[in-house]
Structure formats: structure tokens, C-alpha cells
């Protein structure tokens, strides 16, 4: 397939979309893992009852 002399605009649009959607997915995964780790740690401390990591 030849995209003609507007190839730069077409590929640029797809590249930007891929970048933004990729960023959204990556941020969602990293944010979720970070919150999960944080919650596990806090819940461990609450279960421990002392507020001090054993």
C-alpha cells in the first residue's frame, strides 16, 4: 500500500494515537499495582495491630 505524499500526516496520527493509548494502558497498570502493594502493606500492619512492621 502506498500512502502518497500525505503519509507523514497519516502515520503521525496513528503514531500519536498509539502513544496516548499505550500511555493510558501503561499508567493504568502501574497505578493499579502501586495501589495494590500499598494496600497490602497497610492491611498487613492493621492486622498486625501494632502499627509496627513485625
Amino acid at each position: 500500500m502506498t500512502l502518497g505524499h500525505h503519509a507523514g500526516y497519516i502515520l503521525g496520527a496513528y503514531a500519536f494515537t498509539a502513544l496516548v493509548i499505550g500511555g493510558l494502558i501503561l499508567h493504568a497498570l502501574r497505578d493499579h499495582r502501586a495501589r495494590k502493594r500499598e494496600l497490602d502493606r497497610l492491611q498487613g500492619e492493621v492486622m498486625d495491630g501494632s502499627g509496627v512492621r513485625s
Binding site: 500500500m1 500526516y9 497519516i10 500519536f16 500511555g23 494496600l39 502499627g51
Partner: protein, 270 residues
């Protein structure tokens, strides 16, 4: 049943097994949509190959408006029923809606330069989409300004409902004003004006983007619920430590570096 499903605890339980299926379906539909876009759709007789930008521009525009509509409905849920999941849904939708609106604006500009000879005109449709993006940014900024999510919820719900006035302006701008942007060509009286060879791949991409957006939204809602639980536990821990200062000061401001210590203890040590 709806109330039961919308309870944050139940929501976390029923969405957990659904997420991998939705993610797989999003990937599959995107693959099919992109295949149709690149290998089946013929070049447009006027736009040539540049028409392929429309297959990401139109779905992104739809999702930008769709997520704002979802936020407006959630805002009503927050203000009228004070349902905690409504606020969670609203907060999770804002960055996703903003991202798709940004995609719509940028891909529209990249299409406009070769077709209209300019990246931007202050056309009613373009301007109302830019206003939508700015409203999204304002809402996200306001959320970051107010630390307590319960206080933020009401203020943002009101702002969201005020901003919803922009949705019919976006939709009907091409009818109300003489715009450079073309009028509605998919949802219009008398049926679509697009040839089926281009319409069905476009609908496939709209469906793929919608499933992807919904998947991201549900995932972000799960994360938001976890964030609020972390906040609640941190506050409880801080209150508990405040209640018994002597036992803690002696016991545990600890050998840990500041960044690794529980926040309650950091608050106490400050």
C-alpha cells in the same frame, strides 16, 4: 440487584474475572478494526489515503463525548443518591475522556492540514471539542487540588453538570452554525451518507475503541477504590497513633527511611 453490583466491594469482586476477557476482546476488535482500516477500506475519491485518519479520529471523538456523558450521569448519582461508586466512576473517567479528546483534536489537525490547508480553524465543532478538553483538564486539576475525595465529589459533580451544556453544542454545532467541519454523516435523518465499504470498518473501529475505553474505565475504577481504601486505612492508622502517642514515639519512629515508613507514622513523626 443493581445496588448490590454497584457496592464497591461487590464491584471489585465481579469485575475481577471480567477484566481479562474485556482486555482480550478489546485487543481482538482493535486488530480486526485496524485490519479492515488498512487492508479493506478503499481510498476516498476526494481524500485519498488520508481518509484512514478518520478511523481513529471519529472513534476518539465519540469516546471523548461518551465519557463526559458518563461523567454527567455519575455526577447526578453523586449529588442525588450520594453513591460512592458514582464518584469513583466519575473520577476514573476524566483522564480517559481527556486522552481520547486529545487524540481527536490532534488527529483532526493532522487530517485538516492536507485536506483544509490548515491545522486549526476556530470552527464551532473544533472549538467546542477544545472546550470539552479544557473542561476535562479543569476537572482533573480540581480533583488534585481538593485532597478529601468526599469534599471534592460534590464540587466536581456540579462543575461536571455545568460543563455538560457543551455536549449538545458539540453534537449540533455543525447544524446550528455554518462550519468548515462536515455535518453528521453516520447518525442522521435518512441514514448514513457513508458507503458501506467504509461505514462498516468505521463502526468496527468505533466498537473496538468503545470496548477498550470501557475496559480502561473499569480498571481505573478498581484502582480508584483501592486508592480510597489506602487513604481510609492511612487515616485510621494516623488516628490510632494520635490516640496513643507515648507508646509509639518510644517504640517505632524506627530504623526505616522516611519514604518507606507508613504514612501514619510519618505524620506522627512530623
Amino acid at each position: 440487584m443493581w445496588t448490590r453490583l454497584a457496592h464497591p466491594g461487590h464491584f471489585l469482586r465481579w469485575t475481577q474475572p471480567v477484566m481479562p476477557w474485556l482486555a482480550g476482546l478489546s485487543g481482538l476488535l482493535l486488530g480486526v478494526g485496524l485490519y479492515l482500516t488498512w487492508f479493506v477500506v478503499p481510498p476516498d475519491y476526494q481524500q485519498g489515503e488520508t481518509v484512514r485518519i478518520m478511523y481513529i479520529h471519529v472513534p476518539a471523538a465519540w469516546l471523548g463525548v461518551f465519557f463526559y456523558g458518563a461523567m454527567a450521569i455519575s455526577a447526578i448519582g453523586t449529588l442525588v443518591w450520594r453513591h460512592p461508586l458514582a464518584d469513583v466512576a466519575q473520577r476514573a473517567a476524566a483522564p480517559i475522556g481527556a486522552a481520547f479528546t486529545l487524540i481527536c483534536l490532534v488527529t483532526g489537525s493532522l487530517w485538516g492540514k492536507p485536506m483544509w490547508g490548515t491545522y486549526w480553524v476556530w470552527d464551532a465543532r473544533l472549538t467546542s471539542m477544545l472546550v470539552l478538553f479544557l473542561i476535562y483538564c479543569g476537572i482533573i486539576a480540581l480533583w488534585r487540588t481538593i485532597e478529601d475525595p468526599n469534599r471534592a465529589a460534590r464540587a466536581i459533580a456540579i462543575l461536571t453538570l455545568v460543563g455538560a451544556v457543551n455536549l449538545p453544542i458539540i453534537k449540533f454545532s455543525v447544524n446550528w452554525w455554518s462550519t468548515l467541519h462536515q455535518p453528521a454523516s453516520i447518525m442522521r435523518m435518512g441514514g448514513s451518507s457513508i458507503d458501506p465499504s467504509m461505514l462498516y470498518p468505521l463502526l468496527a473501529m468505533i466498537l473496538a475503541f468503545t470496548i477498550l475505553g470501557v475496559t480502561l474505565h473499569l480498571y481505573a475504577m478498581r484502582t480508584e477504590i483501592l486508592r480510597r481504601r489506602v487513604r481510609a486505612l492511612t487515616l485510621r492508622e494516623a488516628e490510632r497513633l494520635d490516640a496513643s502517642p507515648s507508646s509509639v514515639r518510644g517504640a517505632s519512629i524506627s530504623q526505616e527511611p522516611m519514604g518507606q515508613a507508613p504514612i501514619g507514622r510519618v505524620v506522627q513523626s512530623l
